[in-house]
Structure formats: structure tokens, C-alpha cells
Subunit: 188 residues, 2 copies
Amino acid sequence: MDKQKMGSVPFVFPMPAAVVGADVDGKPTFMTIAYCGAVNNGPAMIAIGSNPGHHTMRGIVEHREFSVNIPSERSVEKTDFVGMVSGATHDKSAVFEVFYGGLHHAPLIAECPVNLECTVREHLKIGGKDDIVIGEITECHVDTSALTDGAPDMEKMRPLLYATGARAYWGVGRKVADAWSAGASYRD
Amino acid sequence: MDKQKMGSVPFVFPMPAAVVGADVDGKPTFMTIAYCGAVNNGPAMIAIGSNPGHHTMRGIVEHREFSVNIPSERSVEKTDFVGMVSGATHDKSAVFEVFYGGLHHAPLIAECPVNLECTVREHLKIGGKDDIVIGEITECHVDTSALTDGAPDMEKMRPLLYATGARAYWGVGRKVADAWSAGASYRD
């Protein structure tokens, strides 16, 4: 075992490449973030981290609503684009086909196989470069073509993974094992 | 576009299959969680969600320290095992070879290519089944054999992905594109 100390780095693998949406000045805008994870159930909640200066954060603060959209590999260029440029200087409202669900200010991306509508439960400023927003997921929309036996199918969704450090997007590979099952062979 | 509404579900893709460690009653114990994401930088922070009744949570509450370990595909059976059984009834201290870094109560797993040492910054009880713990990452240890040009390499780490809904572990595939680069072709 030969380990290297890297300091205080956010090295979680895999990270998603999620596209967060909000309405700013009456128009949808988007930003790509890897600082994002599910953190609760019943109701489901999601935590995201973002610099408060980002344009999309203005809409989240104003409306206390946002979306989290899970892009597929086929959307990699648009996903990267909305993470490269600021909504303050670039109108991103036409990058994606947008629809709305039950929330009025959580713009959802049609071409993303999974869309989460979220309301802000907590907005934490606890140091560091980013604000932490915890959203309650009020509704989830999944492409029917991405479902197998009622559950989202990795092979059909082909979500992007963000490789932090190497600054690249990766795809999913193959199924390794069933959960709540593979461990039985270790116990035996 | 044909979408199906799924309700309030924590459908983030990909999710990690992270092994969280803490010391309880003087011994390391571990639980596997998918509710986990990076949420801040400078210092780096991570958010996890867990039912407060889980044995590992006792140690996190007592010591306000924990670890997050990123397992490789080769550890899938042990990873699933520590998520299947409770530390209240099973001594998990010998499942993995353990080492410690700068924190005294954040047990790190030698065979995991990435290990994060964390101190508790916030412990939120805001409804839902789970508590949300936000940890500051005080140190990160990475296998030198998993690094390429100083950054963790997906191909060398081969981290597990958790497919929620389908309840399965998946592996990473191939690199799709460079970040802060692929979007340029959309802009052009």
C-alpha cells in the first residue's frame, strides 16, 4: 500500500455531471455541476454546492426552486457548454428544449433522461468557496424509454460521470454485481 | 419525449458506492452509502445522508469524525457486505485492513484507492428518513498506483457506481470527452 496525501480535495468517485436549472429574469438558465449528491429519502433530498456568484444561483435564491437534470452521453457538448460560459453574458435559454412540471421556476431539460424538480430546504453558507443548497425533490420525471421493469436503466440512460482532477467526462461500463446480494458470498 | 413521473425519489446518476467508516466502542465499523456527494471546495466538503439508527452513525456523532472510502470493483463483495449487515450485530472491524491518518477516529480502508478523512461541520435533521452530515475533508489519500499525471485515473481506480432503483453496482466505461473543452464545439 503506497498512498499519496493530496490535502483537502473533493475526491468523490464517481461524481455526476448534472445540469442545474433555474429561472433568472424570466428565462431559464443552466449550469453544470459535479458537486451534487442524493442525501435523504422520504421525502428525497439532494445537496448541491455552487459558488454563489454563478448566474443560476440568482434564480435559486429568488424563487427557491431549481431543477437537476441528468444528461446522457449524447448531450456531452451542451452539458460542457453550459458549464463553460456564464449566464450573465450568454443567454442559455435556447440551448435545450425546456419543459416545466409542477414547479413554476424549475426548468426541465427534455433531452435529459432524468429530471428532478426541487424546492430549497436549506441554503448553507458555512465557509469554503461554495454555498451548499439542499433541495427537496418534489417530482422526478424519467424517459419511459430509459426504464426497464420500472427502474432507470444505466445502459439506456448512459449518464455522464465527471472525473474530477483529470477534468473529463466518462461513461458507464457494465454491471458488476447485484446489491444486497454480492456481499452474501463474503459472509459465507 | 415521453416521460413518466416517479414522485419524490433520489434519482441521481451516477451515485457512488462509498464506504463510510467511524469508530464505535473503540473499534472501526463501516457502512456503504450511495447518498453522498462533494459539495464544497476550499476547504473541500462532502455531504452524506444516513438513517441515524445506523451503527456507524453512533461513532460519527460521538467523535465528530468519519472517513469516506471509494472502493474499486475488486472490493464489490466486501462493499456490499458492510452495507447488508449492521455493525450492532456484526463486528466489521476485520473486514478490511484499516489505517489512520491525521484524525484519530476516521478509519481508512487500505484496499480502497481513495480515502477521505472528514470532520463534522454540520449535522442536519430536517425531516425525511435520514440525517444529513456535512463533513470537511481534512485530508485525502490516493493510491500512487491509481494516479496518472498527479490525478486519480478512472481506469486505474475502477470505482463502483450504484444504480439506484435497479439496486446494482456498475463499473466505469470509457472517457467520453474532455471537460471545459467539448462545449467549445457547441459554441462554435
